[in-house]
C-alpha cells in the first residue's frame, strides 16, 4: 500500500463529506436526536392508566374502593360516568384503557354478607398497556378484599379472594399481533407513499427534465396535482393489499366498518403524499430525498405510538406526537379494526388528519416555485 495514495483518498473523502451538507447534518444531529427520542419515547412502564368509573352505589363503601384504586398510583380515575353506554363510548374512542363498574347493590350485598360483583374492564388492544392494567387491577382488588373488607366483613374475605371480576375487552387473549398488525399496515403505507412521492419530483430535477417542463405553460398546481394522482392510486392500492393480507394472514378480526377505514385511509395517503412532495421541493437529488425521508420516518415510528405506548411517554413527547400524521392514523386504524369504532368516535383524529393534510399540501405548493432558482 502506498501511503501517499491512501492519504489522497482519505483527504478527498473528507473534502467531499464537508461539502455534502445533508450527510454531515445527519452525522452530527442524528445521534443527539436518536438519543433524545429513544430515551424518552422508549418506555414501557405504564402507570396512571386512564380509567373511567361508574359508581352506581354511591355509598361510603364504594368510594372507599375507588379511593383504593386512586391510591395505588396505577390508575388515573379521571372519567366519572353515569351510564354503561358512556363508558363504552370512552372505550371505543380510546380515551380510557380501563373501566370500573360498581353495582347499585354493592353496600347492601356487603351488609348481607354476600359478595358484590365489581366489574373491572380492561381494553386489551395494546398488550403493553393491557397486561399491567389487568394485573394492577386484580392486585388492587385482592388487597382491598384482604385488608379492608376482612376487618369489616370477615365472612366475605373467607369465601372470596377478590370481589373484582376482571374482563378483557376487544382482544381477550391479549394477542400482540392484533395490536401490531393494524399499526404496521399504517406504517408500511406511510413509508412507501412518502418515499415514492419524494422521488417523483426530485427525479425530474436530477435528470434535468424539469428544465423542459418549466418553460412550458404548465402551472405548479397542475404539475403537483398531476404528479399526486397516480401515487394516490398506488398508495391506496398498496393499503388495500396490506390491509387484506395483514388481517387474513395474521387472523386479526376486523371489528369496524371497512368503508370508513378506507375513506380515512385515502385521507392519510393524501397527507403522506404531501409530505413526500414537501421533501422533494427541498431535496436536489434522490439521495438527499432519501436522507430526508429517513430523518422524517424515524420520529414517526417512535412518537406515533407504533412501537411504544404514548401513554408511557412524558407529556412534551406526547405533544410532539400530535404533529405527526401517523399518530392519528394509527389511532384510526386501531380504533376501527380492533375496537370497532366508527367515525363518531374517531372524529377528532379524522379532523386533525384533514387539517394537517390541507396545511401540508398548501405548504408544498407554495414551496414549489416554477422557476429554476
Amino acid at each position: 500500500m502506498n501511503p501517499k495514495r491512501f492519504w489522497a483518498i482519505v483527504k478527498k473523502e473528507f473534502l467531499q463529506l464537508k461539502r455534502d451538507k445533508p450527510s454531515m447534518a445527519i452525522a452530527l444531529i442524528m445521534p443527539v436526536m436518536m438519543l433524545l427520542l429513544f430515551g424518552y419515547a422508549v418506555s414501557t412502564d405504564v402507570d396512571h392508566i386512564a380509567t373511567a368509573y361508574l359508581d352506581l352505589s354511591r355509598t361510603p363503601e364504594s368510594r372507599e374502593l375507588l379511593a383504593k384504586f386512586r391510591a395505588s398510583n396505577y390508575f388515573n380515575l379521571d372519567y366519572p360516568v353515569n351510564t354503561t353506554a358512556e363508558l363504552n363510548s370512552l372505550f371505543k374512542k380510546g380515551k380510557i384503557k380501563a373501566g370500573l363498574i360498581i353495582p347499585p347493590d354493592y353496600t347492601e350485598k356487603l351488609n348481607r354478607g354476600q359478595i358484590p360483583e365489581v366489574k373491572y374492564i380492561v381494553d386489551g388492544s395494546d398488550p403493553s398497556i393491557a397486561r399491567p392494567a389487568l394485573s394492577s387491577g386484580v392486585l388492587v382488588g385482592q388487597n382491598y378484599t384482604r385488608e379492608i373488607l376482612a376487618k369489616k366483613y370477615p365472612q366475605i374475605a373467607k369465601n372470596s379472594i377478590s370481589l373484582i371480576r376482571a374482563e378483557v375487552r376487544y382482544n381477550p387473549k391479549i394477542r400482540s399481533q392484533i395490536f401490531t398488525i393494524p399499526g404496521l399496515i399504517g406504517l408500511v403505507m406511510q413509508n412507501l407513499t412518502v418515499l415514492l412521492t419524494a422521488f417523483a419530483l426530485v427525479r425530474e430535477k436530477e435528470r434535468g427534465t424539469i428544465e423542459q417542463l418549466i418553460v412550458t405553460p404548465v402551472t405548479s398546481f397542475e404539475l403537483i396535482l398531476g404528479k399526486l394522482v397516480p401515487y394516490v392510486l398506488i398508495g391506496f392500492l398498496s393499503f388495500t393489499i396490506a390491509f387484506y393480507f395483514g388481517i387474513n394472514w395474521f387472523s386479526v378480526p376486523m371489528q369496524g366498518d371497512t368503508l370508513t377505514l378506507f375513506a380515512l385511509a385515502l385521507c392519510f395517503v393524501a397527507v403522506a403524499l404531501a409530505i413526500g412532495i414537501l421533501i422533494s421541493t427541498v431535496a436536489r437529488t434522490q439521495l438527499q430525498a432519501m436522507q430526508m425521508t429517513i430523518v422524517f420516518l424515524l420520529p414517526s415510528i417512535l412518537l406515533s405510538g407504533f412501537m411504544f405506548p404514548r401513554e408511557a411517554m412524558p407529556k412534551i413527547i406526547q405533544y410532539l406526537g400530535y404533529a405527526i400524521p401517523l399518530t392519528y392514523f394509527l389511532e384510526i386504524l386501531r380504533g376501527i379494526i380492533i375496537r370497532g369504532a366508527g367515525l363518531l368516535e374517531l372524529q377528532n383524529q379524522a379532523i386533525a388528519l384533514t387539517v394537517l393534510g390541507v396545511f401540508l399540501l398548501v405548504a408544498a405548493s407554495l414551496r414549489f416555485k416554477k422557476r429554476l432558482e
Binding site: R207, G208, T209, I210, E211, Q212, L213, I214, V215, T216, P217, V218, R371, L372, E373
Partner: protein
C-alpha cells in the same frame, strides 16, 4: 418590422457575481440569431430569463411584444425551448415524449397526431417511434428534443448549445432542419461556440463576461474589424477586453472553453 426578441438593460446577479450585465438588443422576426460567447459568459442565463425560467434582477425583456415577467404564460406558448442538457424523458418512448409535450401545450388530439407525424418525418425518427428515448444515439436525441420543442409551432425557437457533443454529420443535418424551419418564418435564437455555425446565423451577438460586446450580421462585424473570419473578429474582441494577446485559435479556447470546429 416585427420584433422577435427585445432586451433592455437585462441584468442578472447571483450574489456578488454579475452573470448578465445590462444587455440590450433587438432581433427582428424570421431571423436566426446566434448568441456566442465562452462558457460562463452568461448565454444560458440570458436564455433562461427569456424563457421566464429565471427572474431578471433588473432590466426587461420581451418576446413578440410580451414581457417575459408579466406575461410568462403567453411567452411560454410562443417559444419552443431546447436546453443544453437533454431533458426529455429517457424512460418514455419517442412517441410518448411527443404526445406528452403536445398535451402539455394543450393541442387537440387530431392536430397532435398530424404534428407528431410531421416531426417524426423531419427528425428521421418515423421507424424509431416505439424506441425508448434512452436507447437513441446523441444525434437522434437532439433531433427529438428539437421536435418536442416544435410540437406547438412556436414563433420563436430557443436552442441552448444544441449541437454540443454531437457528431459532425448529425450537426449538419440539424442545421439543415433549422434553416428549413427559419424559411417557414420561425425565428431562432441559438447559442453556440462553433464558429462555422456562427457564420450561418443572420445576426450574431457576442457575450463576454456578461456583457454584450458586439452585435450585427456576420458580414458587418467582419467589415467593421477588417477581418475575414468571425473567428478573427472574436479573437480581436477577447484581446481588447482582456488586454491579453491571443495568438491563435488554440489560445482562444482558453476563453471559449469549448471544442473548436
Amino acid at each position: 418590422m416585427t420584433v422577435a426578441i427585445l432586451t433592455e438593460n437585462l441584468t442578472k446577479t447571483f450574489g456578488p457575481k454579475v452573470a448578465v450585465d445590462n444587455v440590450s438588443f433587438t432581433v427582428p422576426a424570421g431571423k436566426i440569431f446566434g448568441l456566442l460567447g465562452p462558457n460562463g459568459s452568461g448565454k444560458s442565463t440570458t436564455i433562461r430569463m427569456l424563457c421566464g425560467a429565471l427572474l431578471p434582477t433588473s432590466g426587461r425583456a420581451e418576446i413578440f411584444g410580451m414581457d417575459v415577467v408579466k406575461k410568462t404564460r403567453e411567452v411560454r406558448n410562443l417559444i419552443g425551448y431546447m436546453s443544453q442538457r437533454f431533458s426529455l424523458y429517457e424512460d418514455l418512448t419517442v412517441e410518448e415524449n411527443l404526445d406528452f409535450f403536445g398535451r402539455i401545450y394543450n393541442l387537440p388530439a387530431k392536430l397532435l397526431k398530424s404534428r407528431k407525424e410531421e416531426i417524426l418525418l423531419m427528425a428521421g425518427l418515423t421507424e424509431n417511434r416505439k424506441t425508448l428515448t434512452a436507447h437513441l444515439s446523441g444525434g437522434w436525441k437532439q433531433r427529438l428534443a428539437l421536435g418536442a420543442a416544435m410540437i406547438h409551432r412556436p414563433k420563436l425557437l430557443i436552442l441552448d448549445e444544441p449541437t454540443a457533443g454531437v457528431d459532425p454529420v448529425s450537426r449538419r443535418i440539424f442545421w439543415e432542419i433549422i434553416k428549413k424551419l427559419c424559411a417557414t418564418g420561425i425565428s431562432v435564437l441559438v447559442t453556440t461556440h462553433y464558429m462555422d455555425e456562427a457564420e450561418i446565423c443572420d445576426i450574431v451577438g457576442f457575450i463576454f463576461n456578461g456583457k454584450l460586446v458586439s452585435f450585427g450580421t456576420p458580414a458587418e462585424l467582419m467589415a467593421k474589424e477588417g477581418k475575414d473570419s468571425l473567428e478573427d473578429v472574436f479573437i480581436e474582441y477577447v484581446e481588447r477586453t482582456t488586454g491579453k494577446k491571443v495568438y491563435d485559435f488554440k489560445d482562444l479556447e482558453k476563453f471559449i472553453g469549448g471544442k473548436p470546429a
